[in-house]
């Protein structure tokens, strides 16, 4: 508690000379005269204090700015500087005549926040480690001491090792708020820190989507679900993970839409669906291919759509398995390196003809480079089936179409064969395929789970293929729904203003691989052969410059802003030892204690959702949502803008005090001058930005799709509909979100892929070699001798680690972390419901309570994620057995192939969190080993 009055001890004693004691208030602004002026209210017993009407001082607009993706509008009720409750702000306007409304929105975590924010987990004061790392010994220090010491370390590391020796990870715990994120990004940019890219780092980057359509961002509003005629809810569990939006599924179902749930375990979503299909874990692509086989066999695909929008009519050489290119036909083309001109077989002329809109720049730097071409076929009549002889520079070559190759690939996955792999009956596979194919439009709604499987890219490619066969991608109510994201122009304008882009963003998966001895882990768990083979590809990718190398320099310092990396990083304590633990200085900026803060050297207290000024954009919901600081930050916590402002001020002051001048920093070949003394002026734009409120106003003014108004107007409304959001898809130029797919499907502009199409065939030599040129099923990886497959999903009672330890949320579950297992598996191991279970494999072990459930298949276990290691025996959570941290699939490091190659926030290898197996036993209470 900060005090403004400074009454000394002596004055107290003088005042308390007992005969003349006065009113001595330190926590109250009341003067003695004011205190005495109050007439006593009638009072006889404590019940009287309840007689006065409870009134609110203020009702503020707010939400919970974490990545629940809800951005639900809330009214926040304040009295006496305390938030007492929150209530859904039900003032969403009608969405349109033909879809349900968005409001009211909310979930139990949000409705609990006013209680939890005052909980004991809150970090209220700056803390400095007082014992060994992770020992849990802390000292409260002042902000001044904290920022001075951190500033000195930043200066020292920058001078000695360069600013890139400092890693700055801003996570989704708090920093998905726009002003918050932009402030952190601005600071990192000024200082030149290395920013690990956590989209792939958490295993969420839809690389299979990127491979196919040239962008990772594909997703419409939630209302689009209502317009679908068949939705496959695949590797997703919206009844648990998207509480404010799950109603769209059930309303659609009521409206006649088939909602088909596909998941190995019986989920709360499956419970409400028209049909539940339960493939064995990790066999989903076999199921998808079985469905593709059925649709091809039935001939129920949209031929015209495929010919125009996809590469399925493109010609492929039978001898090499590569596309027929202009370089095959013309010597001149080889000189001009025109290896991205592709061909179709034109039935009208009986000739191979150049496919429209191919031969464009193969480095898709900006969509504008493709805006003058069209996918329209004109007079061309592409053949989908057939083989032909073509004269090439090297002689006559047989060619066929990608479609023909796809038919052959699908033939390997007949429903009968798929049934053997997946355990789903062939009749069910055919039934689902036919229901899906008959639906116009058809949709697949999926989450990030697929990205977490090593071969999840193949599943995403198969999913896109399925929706393409029905011609549904790019149509309202159709397509593959994963996630869209705001155009970054607004945030980057703020982050880069007066400085230009001057920080580095790195793939955290490859950084970990190089610095965490991850090859060793793969070798230990999956064997030498796999480790050597995949490492050879990794090294080749680095050598060929497909992907950058980070091997030459380690990090000295890590700043974790709203990022609980020590919770979720695969391999648990191993990562903490070989990655995290190597950092000489760790700073956590968090509102709540968690595992990352526990292992930090400094912990800075950060304001919670109702204690800050900000705004949110979330692509599933067509509204901009405000956070209008309902109360002052608790204790000495501050919002991210203020925290960074204090640090910037300390850096500049300490540099002046220490007489330290500017340094030169090489950023990707560019020299950037960094003058510590000017950091504060730069950060505040020479004093023109004074608070988070100013940042929000800046962002409102520059962010595409956000209606222009003052922050105060926005705060009064709470929610405002974003621009260009009349329909249910993001197809407008002026919306805040990506609209590339609509531009291709509706506007006929080429996709940003090598072929300019939805590209299902990738003839990169690695894809050919690994048999992944087309979508296909590959067996998930398993660990020999460990028969139980471990599957995870997002939780209902927490958003990642946030709210996980809330007593009420715990009371709604088992009160502690639990793991779901099949009754037969439990019985075979003598495990009863409620027993502590030790889960183990060669990577490690952890303990959780057995939750025996018939909804779980034999030979698998399921666990909701987010449980913080702090809640487990030995501070080891499920990450301990995630043995996949060192798995980097070769094709995810491919490059020099049109759109393939490192592209920040689009194409980078995911950290793999699935593809492992384990064993269980009843825990004897004696340690983890």
């Amino acid at each position: 508690m900060k005090r403004s009055t400074t009454v000394s001890r002596r004055r107290f004693l003088k005042g308390s000379g007992l005969a003349g004691l006065g009113l001595m208030l330190r926590h109250s602004p009341l003067s003695a005269a004011e205190a005495l002026a109050e007439e006593p209210e009638p009072y006889r017993r404590f019940e009287d204090v309840y007689r006065n009407k409870w009134t609110w001082d203020r009702v503020a607009r707010g939400t919970h700015g974490t990545n629940c993706a809800g951005t639900c509008a809330f009214n926040v009720y304040i009295k006496g500087g305390v938030v007492w409750r929150e209530e859904q702000q039900a003032e969403y306007e009608p969405s349109g005549d033909d879809v349900p409304d968005y409001g009211p929105r909310g979930c139990q975590k949000g409705l609990r926040h006013s209680n939890w924010m005052y909980g004991k987990q809150r970090v209220l004061y700056p803390m400095k480690r007082a014992g060994e790392r992770g020992e849990g010994k802390w000292q409260r220090i002042t902000w001044e001491q904290a920022t001075d010491e951190i500033a000195d370390r930043i200066i020292d590391y920058s001078l000695e090792y360069g600013p890139d020796s400092i890693s700055f990870g801003s996570g989704t715990m708090m920093s998905v708020k726009l002003a918050s994120f932009s402030s952190l990004a601005r600071f990192a940019n000024i200082a030149g820190f290395t920013v690990p890219e956590f989209y792939s780092g958490v295993g969420d980057l839809p690389t299979g989507v990127y491979m196919t359509i040239g962008t990772a961002y594909t997703g419409d509003t939630m209302a689009a679900i209502y317009k679908s005629r068949c939705v496959l809810v695949w590797m997703a569990n919206p009844a648990v993970t998207r509480l404010p939006d799950a109603h769209f599924f059930w309303e659609a179902r009521y409206n006649g839409t088939q909602v088909i749930s596909i998941s190995p375990e019986f989920t709360p979503t499956a419970m409400h669906s028209s049909l539940w299909v339960n493939p064995k874990p990790g066999t989903d692509t076999a199921l998808a291919m079985g469905m593709i086989h059925t649709i091809l066999e039935d001939g129920t695909y949209e031929r015209d759509y495929l010919c125009e929008q996809t590469d399925l009519p493109f010609l492929v050489r039978a001898d090499t398995g590569e596309f027929l290119r202009e370089t095959d036909l013309s010597f001149v083309a080889t000189l001009a390196v025109r290896d991205n001109v592709f061909y179709i077989w034109d039935e009208a002329t009986g000739q191979p003809r150049r496919a429209p809109a191919t031969g464009l720049s193969d480095k898709p730097i900006g969509r504008d480079r493709r805006r003058f071409e069209t996918l329209e076929l004109g007079d061309l009549r592409p053949a989908l089936e057939g083989t032909w002889q073509v004269e090439t520079r090297g002689g006559t070559v047989e060619v066929t179409t990608v479609f023909e190759l796809l038919k052959r690939k699908a033939a390997e996955h007949s429903p009968e064969r798929a049934a053997e792999i997946t355990g789903v009956h062939p009749k069910v596979i055919r039934k689902v395929a036919r229901t899906f194919a008959a639906a116009r439009p058809a949709m697949i709604y999926t989450g990030y789970s697929a990205c977490k499987w090593i071969h999840g890219d193949l599943l995403q490619r198969a999913m896109l293929l399925l929706v393409a066969l029905t011609g549904s991608t790019g149509k309202e109510g159709g397509g593959l729904q994963i996630a869209n994201a705001p155009k970054t122009r607004g945030m980057m304008a703020f982050a880069f203003a007066d400085v230009g882009p001057a920080f580095r963003m790195v793939s955290s998966t490859t950084w970990d691989y190089e610095h965490g001895r991850m090859k060793e882990l793969t070798e230990k768990v999956y064997g030498k052969e796999l480790a050597e083979d995949w490492d050879a590809r990794y090294q080749e990718s680095i050598r060929e410059d497909y992907f950058p190398s980070y091997g030459d320099k380690g990090w000295k310092m890590g700043i974790f802003a709203g990022n609980n990396g020590a919770n979720w990083r695969a391999s648990g304590n191993r990562w903490r030892e070989v990655g995290f633990g190597k950092l000489e200085t760790i700073v956590a900026m968090v509102p709540d204690m968690g595992c990352t803060a526990h292992y930090a050297d400094y912990v800075l207290p950060i304001a919670h959702h109702y204690e800050r000024t900000d705004m949110m954009l979330q692509s599933r919901v067509p509204y901009v949502q405000v956070l209008d600081a309902a109360v002052l930050p608790l204790g000495e916590s501050v919002d991210d803008w203020t925290a960074m402002n204090r640090l910037a001020e300390a850096i500049s002051r300490r540099a002046r005090e220490r007489g330290i001048g500017a340094i030169r920093d090489d950023v990707d070949g560019r020299t950037v001058r960094r003058d510590f003394r000017s950091y504060h002026d730069l950060y505040t734009m020479d004093g023109s930005i004074e608070s988070a409120r100013d940042v929000v106003q800046y962002l409102i003014n520059v962010t595409p799709g956000v209606p222009k108004m003052s922050f105060e107007e926005l705060a009064a409304k709470g929610i405002v509909r974003v621009d260009d959001s009349d329909g249910t898809t993001w197809d407008g130029e002026h919306s805040p979100y990506h609209n590339e797919v609509a531009r291709s499907v509706v506007g006929k502009r080429p996709y940003e892929t090598l072929t300019g199409r939805q590209q299902y065939y990738i003839d990169h030599e690695w894809f050919l070699e690994y048999g992944e040129a087309l979508p296909t099923h590959l067996e998930p990886l398993a660990i020999e001798g460990f028969p139980i497959r471990f599957v995870m999903g997002h939780a209902r009672h927490g958003i990642h680690s946030m709210w996980r330890d809330d007593p009420l949320m715990l009371a709604l579950q088992r009160g502690e972390p639990d793991i779901y297992l099949n009754p037969d598996d439990a019985a075979a191991r003598g495990i009863a419901d409620g027993d502590p279970v030790r889960v183990f494999n060669p990577a490690g072990a952890f303990v959780a309570m057995a939750h025996v459930s018939a909804g779980i298949q034999p030979s698998m276990v399921f666990m909701y994620h987010g449980w913080d290691p702090m809640m487990f025996e030995g501070r080891e959570n499920f990450s301990a057995v995630i043995s996949t941290a060192g798995l980097i699939k070769p094709t995810s490091m491919a490059g020099d192939y049109g759109h393939l190659g490192h592209r920040v926030l689009q194409f980078a290898p995911n950290q793999t969190y699935r593809d492992f197996t384990c064993e269980l036993e009843k825990w004897d209470g004696n340690g983890l080993a």
């Binding site: 508690m1 308390s16 208030l25 109250s28 205190a35 017993r45 404590f46 000292q139």
Partner: protein, 228 residues
């Protein structure tokens, strides 16, 4: 330091309730409110400084209308050095303000084990009923022990400044009820937990002393106030 409890004139000496007793008790609450506040906050820095603290405790021991064992805390306070004071500041933080699983002990009633839902609301209702208001920066913690004790100081002060016994009675009843329903509902447990966890004697003695004072004060108040 004398060990004898002095008797002062009038009704206090007879154990009854008076404006004098209210004044002395108000002083005690003010002192203890300061002592249990965070010493990291500038206004409370040095609250444990000798010899002032010992003197203040001695005066309370002399003038409170009931027996109050002030010596154990005064004895510790008397011997404190500047280094000890820095240690006290750190120790308070370690006990109540920082920790990997949250601080080991709750200095806010709402976080104390077993307190029912609605605790904080009732506290704020008490404050509002009697016109006690909090400064902006402490509003988030109306249930902090230091704030609760300051509220009792406020009520005792109002009692002592009220000449009309009729009008003083709401403040007296308010003190009894608030003390019983709030600080006393968790202070004994807190004092015993501090006894177990505190690494230094000062905080052990302080919380024992405050606990003993609150118990004695509540007992005395119950015998000196009549509900109509």
């Amino acid at each position: 330091m004398g060990r004898k409890r002095a008797r002062v004139k009038g009704d206090v000496a007879e154990g009854g309730r008076s404006r004098v007793s209210a004044r002395i008790r108000a002083a005690a609450y003010a002192l203890f409110s300061q002592l249990v506040a965070s010493p990291s906050d500038a206004a409370f820095a040095g609250a444990a400084l000798p010899p002032d603290l010992s003197e203040a405790l001695e005066q309370l021991g002399e003038h409170l209308p009931y027996p109050f064992d002030w010596l154990p805390l005064a004895g510790v306070a008397e011997a404190l050095t500047d280094r000890d004071l820095r240690r006290i500041v750190r120790a308070y933080g370690v006990l109540f303000e920082v920790g990997s699983d949250g601080p080991p002990l709750a200095i806010r009633e709402d976080l104390a084990e077993g307190r029912p839902a609605g605790t904080k609301e009732e506290i704020v209702r008490f404050y509002e009923h009697f016109g006690y208001r909090l400064s902006k920066d402490v509003q988030w913690a109306p249930d902090h022990l230091s704030v609760e004790l300051e509220f009792l100081h406020f009520l005792a002060f109002k009692e002592c400044r009220e000449k009309d016994p009729e009008k003083a009675q709401p403040f007296q009843l308010g003190q009894v009820d608030f003390l019983e329903r709030h600080p006393m509902a968790w202070m004994p447990d807190l004092a015993s937990r501090v006894g177990q966890l505190a690494g230094e004697v000062y905080h052990r003695r302080l919380f024992q002393t405050v606990d003993a004072f609150l118990r004695a004060d509540l007992d005395w108040q119950k015998t000196t106030v009549q509900r109509k």
